[in-house]
């Protein structure tokens, strides 16, 4: 087990280093942030002065070294625009992104797993057709469109739920449902195909012939063994929810990390973008490691390596 953690930590360090290089240089290549920050009426000399103030006049290698040495200690520099530490801004939004991701994941799982199982059990039936069609629809539906439709129905016409923000507990329902529906669509398809695969296995037939209850056969013997691919997809989706729910956060004005990133990218606030992207990368890697551990719990044949 120790070897497992050491190798994963080494992978983490190497990946984060690569990500930091890529993020830093891509952002530098995407243009001079001072040109966005400086007022319209600034002359070239004044722009040069600002560039000097923020250290953009230094060689790019020196800028990178400066960035990395500070980033190791958690100091990603000050946001050019908010004039506050970039990491502080990221942490302010992080909680909201996690809450939204957790709620969406809960909705996704609650819908996807039972429907996926049902669809597999009723293979080629009308129910299966309805569930797989719904799942295709859910996958194909753009989240911004679904979000706006939910707003029109539940906020404008029924007046039940807030359109924007994170002001009260029920504010989370619409954005979480929007994200959760998409996740459920993808997960239910995966659950269906994983279940179909295991339902034909010998150990399921054996369990049935032993006279076990149908529910026990499905949930204890079949589902448990179908979980590995489901957990894999779930992990990927969770990582996506943490970083990729940008559109939904914008539609619902949810004050999460995704919206912070979009705002920062549009005005080239590089320090915040760097801090946010490295944080996304770290979250994604850690989720993957957690999934590795879950594999071992689910399937004792898999060992820590």
């Amino acid at each position: 087990m120790r070897g497992f953690f050491i190798s994963r930590m080494a992978q983490l360090v190497v990946t984060m280093f690569i990500v930091s290089v890529v993020v830093f240089f891509i952002l530098r290549l995407s243009g001079d942030p001072i040109l966005v920050v400086a007022p319209d009426f600034f002359s070239e000399e004044q722009i040069e002065q600002m560039r000097k103030f923020w250290g953009f006049d230094r060689p790019i290698g020196e800028q990178y070294l400066n960035f990395v040495t500070k980033a190791i200690t958690g100091n990603f520099g000050k946001s050019y625009l908010a004039k506050r530490p970039a990491m502080e801004l990221v942490f302010e939004r992080l909680g909201y992104s996690w809450i939204l991701a957790a709620a969406a994941a809960a909705i996704g799982l609650t819908i996807a797993v039972p429907l996926g199982i049902l669809s597999a059990l009723k293979r080629n039936s009308f129910i299966d057709l309805v569930i797989t069609s719904m799942s295709s629809l859910g996958t194909a539906m753009p989240s911004f469109w679904l979000g706006l439709m939910l707003i029109i129905v539940f906020s404008v016409h029924l007046g039940l739920l807030p359109v924007f923000g994170a002001l009260e507990a029920k504010s989370i329902i619409l954005p979480a449902a929007t994200l959760g529906v998409g996740m459920a669509a993808r997960l239910s398809r995966m659950t269906r195909s994983a279940m179909l695969e295991v339902l034909n296995q010998d150990y399921v037939r054996t369990a049935r012939s032993k006279g076990l209850m149908h529910k026990t056969v499905i949930l204890r013997h079949a589902l448990r063994n179908a979980l590995i691919p489901i957990v894999t997809v779930f992990g990927l989706q969770l990582g996506w929810l943490l970083g990729g729910s940008v559109v939904v956060e914008s539609v619902f004005s949810w004050p999460g990390l995704g919206r912070l990133m979009i705002d920062s990218i549009s005005v080239r606030d590089n320090t915040v973008v760097q801090a946010g992207l490295l944080f996304f990368a770290l979250s994604f890697i850690l989720i993957n490691y957690a999934i590795d551990v879950i594999y071992i719990i689910l399937d004792p044949r898999i060992k820590f390596q």
Partner: protein
């Protein structure tokens, strides 16, 4: 079974946790006005940025020495109860007795001096100093009297003293906590106090009982960032916000039909122009396109462009704009609205035959005009830009130009073209429209990324405008200035954007300000 239970447990815990963690809003009897801001909103240190739409909000929280009157006619007393010009280069401000910042620190002459000295010094992080360069010295006469001197008579003194960066912050508190902490816990002296905010998301202001001019009528004003216009419309229809700006064309009918909602129209304080290069100097253009000689170096080509553009049509394509010929918004007397904003004059200005004549004068045969490289953002300040540029390109092609149009995302356009000076030949520029700094931009010693303009006579008129205090004499100079502007045709003004706003008129009364700023100091309840 265990697995299924685990799933259910995870889902329940996550859902309940999420619902529990999101805070509940306080309910009380205070009147609350919620304004949807498209974002982003900049930091609370008012001196550290120049973004107009953030300054709208900051003017709730901070007083200036004086403020611009909502109707555009004159100035309102704020921290100074009166002021006068002592001579051509000295202005004296008399401060209110007993006036304090929200933390109790006095708003005195020393505080005024500290604030103006901070904003006018060329430090990299305070990008407003150019606008305050007219100040020579701030002199504390006594605790409640302060003089501001200028190197030479400054025509737009009151205008500039009441503009971005005029917001007063408490010196002792700022020096004690520093900029970072000030941005977390700001202190102002305006009619509203800031009770809570989350950066670039939601700002809640409450009326300040001790404000020198009386407590504002509306108890609470909220600036809520809602980036999506369609979500703003939905929130307004659902009664969750009270006002939005920049109402999209397809939603106007819907909102107008809704009970208790009215559309208001006012200036957005933004104009669209096409810059046509009159020189290859300025910015990176000559390095990016070495040896390239824009056809627009010939003034006849620039004039041909100006007469080929149907400004009425372009304004219609935009959806909320009024055609213009001069680069100052029409409510300023300097804009000479009767001449340069007159719809008939502008309709006559569109003259494709005259445009062809100018092309012929530039040496181009009929139907064989030059190729023009046009750059445009996809979305400009105040609305669509791509469509406007596409139609402009079609109009130019009608008189014989060939147009090579490149449309970029707004921030890419700003970085790659406009601010770096890579406008090869012609570009769309969406800009503010005040008169104060305008003459500077066309002077020989102005270093611009987009061009280098130097016309001696025009330069002299610009110099004279900046030092002429008397308004009538100044307007005479402006008249001359516009003749040069039109004749040189480097900036081809197209239209002024109209801000279409939607307001919950069942509960609130708000008249759009002349300058287009969304300042809610004078917000009132609707008559019931």
């Amino acid at each position: 079974m265990k697995t299924a239970r685990l799933f259910l447990l995870f889902s329940l815990v996550a859902l309940i946790g999420a619902l529990a963690i999101v805070p509940a809003t306080a309910q009380d009897d205070m009147s609350e006005f919620v304004f949807a801001h498209s974002g982003p909103i900049r930091p609370m240190d008012a001196h550290s940025h120049w973004y107009g739409s953030t300054h709208w909000m900051l003017r709730l929280y901070y007083d200036c020495l004086i403020g611009r009157a909502a109707d555009g006619d004159g100035y309102d007393a704020e921290a100074a109860h009166s002021w006068e010009a002592v001579d051509d280069t000295t202005w004296r401000f008399h401060l209110r007795e007993g006036n304090t910042f929200h933390n109790g620190e006095p708003v005195n002459a020393e505080a005024i001096k500290w604030n103006i000295d901070r904003v006018r010094h060329p430090i990299g992080d305070i990008p407003l100093y150019q606008q305050w360069a007219f100040v020579k010295e701030v002199i504390v006469v006594d605790d409640l009297t302060v003089d501001i001197t200028t190197e030479q008579p400054h025509a737009y003194f009151e205008y500039d003293v009441s503009y971005n960066g005029c917001e007063l912050i408490p010196p002792a508190y700022f020096e004690e906590v520093g900029q970072e902490e000030f941005n977390r816990n700001p202190v102002g002296s305006g009619p509203y106090t800031l009770v809570e905010f989350s950066e670039n998301d939601r700002y809640v202001f409450e009326a300040w009982d001790d404000y020198h001019s009386g407590r504002p009528e509306v108890d609470r004003v909220v600036f809520q960032v809602i980036p999506e216009p369609s979500a703003q419309v939905a929130a307004l229809l659902a009664g969750q916000i009270d006002m939005m700006t920049g109402v999209p064309v397809p939603d106007r009918e819907n909102l107008e039909a809704a009970d208790g909602i009215s559309l208001l129209y006012g200036s957005a304080n933004v104009m669209y122009h096409y810059y046509a290069r009159s020189s290859t100097d300025g910015g990176a253009m000559s390095e990016t396109y070495p040896g390239y000689e824009p056809a627009t170096l010939d003034v006849n080509v620039r004039k041909a462009i100006s007469h080929a553009l149907d400004r009425h049509l372009l304004a219609e394509v935009h959806g909320a704009a009024e055609p213009r010929l001069a680069r100052v918004c029409s409510y300023y007397p300097e804009g000479f609205a009767d001449k340069y904003a007159d719809p008939d004059v502008i309709a006559e200005w569109y003259d494709p035959d005259l445009a062809r004549e100018y092309l012929a004068a530039a040496g181009y045969a009929e139907g064989e005009g030059p190729t023009i490289y046009m750059d445009s953002p996809a979305v400009g300040r105040g609305g669509s830009a791509k469509e406007v540029s596409e139609v402009a390109a079609a109009l130019l092609e009608e008189v014989g130009f060939t147009v090579d149009l490149t449309v970029r995302d707004a921030s890419a356009f700003a970085v790659e073209v406009q601010r770096s000076g890579n406008n090869r030949e012609m570009m769309l520029a969406a800009l503010g429209c005040g008169p104060a700094l305008l003459p500077l931009f066309y002077q020989c010693d102005w270093s611009s990324a987009n061009d280098a303009i130097c016309v001696e006579e025009w330069d002299e008129v610009a110099d004279a405008i900046q030092v002429t205090i008397d308004m009538d004499a100044r307007l005479d100079l402006w008249e001359q200035w516009w003749e040069h502007y039109i004749d040189y045709a480097q900036t081809i003004t197209v239209f002024e954007i109209t801000n279409v706003m939607a307001l919950n008129t069942a509960e609130f009364d708000f008249s759009p300000r002349a300058d287009g700023w969304m300042i809610f100091r004078g917000l009132a309840h609707a008559d019931m």
